[in-house]
């Protein structure tokens, strides 16, 4: 080992290209190797350590993959719609994984926006309809599935996000509240966020401007927590101007006391993460095939629909009006589309049987058939397994 210059140490000989170097410590009494900060031999902050069993601990892992517990925090996935008018009840209407409401009286919207800070594609614009005098709180929540919360128990965690105010943001003092709520029972519905069993709420008021700014909040999560949710809310005042809204993106919740750079996951990965909770088949063409099956009866097509990823639970199925679907070969519009669900046959929820009610004319029992869009690009089938 040689000292090259102040604060720079070289181990071994640079001229020996293939030489292996070993940094070792005695196995007794400790055996831990540490990289740490400190002065004159006194350690003030551990950076990296390897214990006697070989386990590696890295503090403040700013490059650790999947450190962000928020799914779709950068608002890239909009399977349901790119705009949504809030109702007085909590509902998922547009951007994936985010539930929203304007309650007790609905006057809000939850839309996709291309107003973003550098490095992002979309934000969500959460606001009040222009000229509205309704002053119900406008808010959104993302609930994290309990199996993804265990690692946060007893931890210091940091919430970070980018936000800006619309030109006519009416919240008193320009305040957007951000925080996280916790519960002590697993997988409680996001729609009951404020009344979760064992509910606690921690957060802060952020004073927004019309300039994109990153805000952070750090707190500790109790060791008995089984569910965590993120909330943003503001209460409008007076009569809404043309842009009484907030824009939010780059939402991240991570272990540790520092807000690291927003974690950017590949779009395919983020889509799969979202599809555990919602999957929507939409017709980009007027003849999209939704599924293929066989005529179980003359008046009933049955088909298996495999999911792109296993869903969180057996999903609820919704669809566009049945008049938008037809049987391909006989070209007859169906009269009903239904779900056949059994936990046992499809666990861990990898697919489902669907069946129709349809005219018997032209059909033959046992033959193959397809369910297609009936000349509409608005046709969809959606599966929802959200919290």
């Amino acid at each position: 080992m040689s000292l090259l210059k102040a604060n720079s140490v070289q181990i071994g000989q640079s001229a020996t290209a293939t030489q292996n170097f070993t940094l070792s410590v005695p196995s007794s009494p400790d055996g831990t190797i540490k990289l740490a900060r400190g002065n004159s031999g006194a350690t003030t902050q551990d950076i990296l350590s390897v214990n006697s069993s070989g386990a590696v601990t890295i503090n403040n892992m700013s490059n650790q993959s999947f450190r962000n517990r928020i799914i779709n925090g950068d608002m890239r996935i909009w399977q349901r719609a790119t705009s949504y008018n809030m109702t007085a009840s909590w509902a998922y209407g547009s951007v994936d994984r985010w539930i929203c409401t304007s309650s007790p009286s609905a006057s809000g919207f939850f839309n996709r926006s291309t107003s973003v800070p550098t490095g992002f594609q979309y934000s969500v614009q959460m606001g009040r309809t222009a000229a509205s005098t309704v002053t119900s709180p406008i808010q959104c929540v993302q609930a994290i599935e309990s199996v993804n919360c265990y690692g946060l128990q007893g931890q210091t965690v940091t919430l970070s996000f980018w936000a800006r105010a619309g030109a006519n943001f009416s919240s008193s003092g320009g305040i957007l509240y951000s925080g996280f709520g916790t519960g002590t029972v697993a997988d409680q519905a996001a729609s009951s966020f404020y009344s979760w069993t064992g509910s606690t709420l921690q957060g802060q008021n952020n004073t927004l401007t019309t300039t994109w700014t990153r805000y952070t909040y750090t707190a500790t999560i109790a060791s008995d927590v089984l569910e965590v949710g993120i909330v943003f809310s503001y209460t409008p005042t007076g009569t809404a101007g043309a842009d009484d809204s907030v824009y939010i993106t780059g939402v991240q919740l991570e272990a540790g006391s520092t807000a690291t750079e927003f974690e950017r996951r590949p779009i395919g990965v983020e889509m799969m993460l979202c599809q555990r909770y919602c999957w929507r088949m939409s017709s980009a063409s007027t003849t999209k095939i939704f599924f293929q099956g066989y005529m179980l009866h003359l008046g009933q097509l049955e088909g298996f629909v495999p999911f792109p990823v296993p869903m969180r639970t057996q999903p609820t199925m919704t669809s566009s009006p049945v008049s938008q679907f037809s049987l391909r070969i006989v070209n007859t519009v169906i009269t009903a589309l239904s779900l056949y669900a059994t936990g046992g046959e499809f666990e861990p929820y990898t697919g489902v049987l669907l069946y129709t009610a349809n005219p018997t004319t032209g059909n033959s029992v046992g033959v193959g058939q397809s369910l297609v869009s009936n000349s509409s690009t608005a046709t969809f089938i959606q599966f929802n397994a959200e919290l």
């Binding site: 009933q300 999903p315 609820t316 779900l339 669900a341 009610a357």
Partner: protein
């Protein structure tokens, strides 16, 4: 508002024709159970029976 079963494992939600499976982890099914506990009864559903 909910309609009657569309088969042995699915209930119909009237307002959006959602088919809700009988799964305790499904939040729509949890809402249905809560609605039942409040003394409500499903309406007859005009849906096909499975197979």
């Amino acid at each position: 508002m909910f309609g009657d079963r569309v088969n042995d494992t699915v209930i119909l939600r009237i307002e959006d024709s959602a088919c809700i499976p009988f799964d305790p982890a499904n939040t729509d099914y949890q809402e249905y159970l809560k609605w039942l506990a409040e003394g409500n009864e499903p309406l007859p559903a005009d849906e096909p029976t499975e197979g």
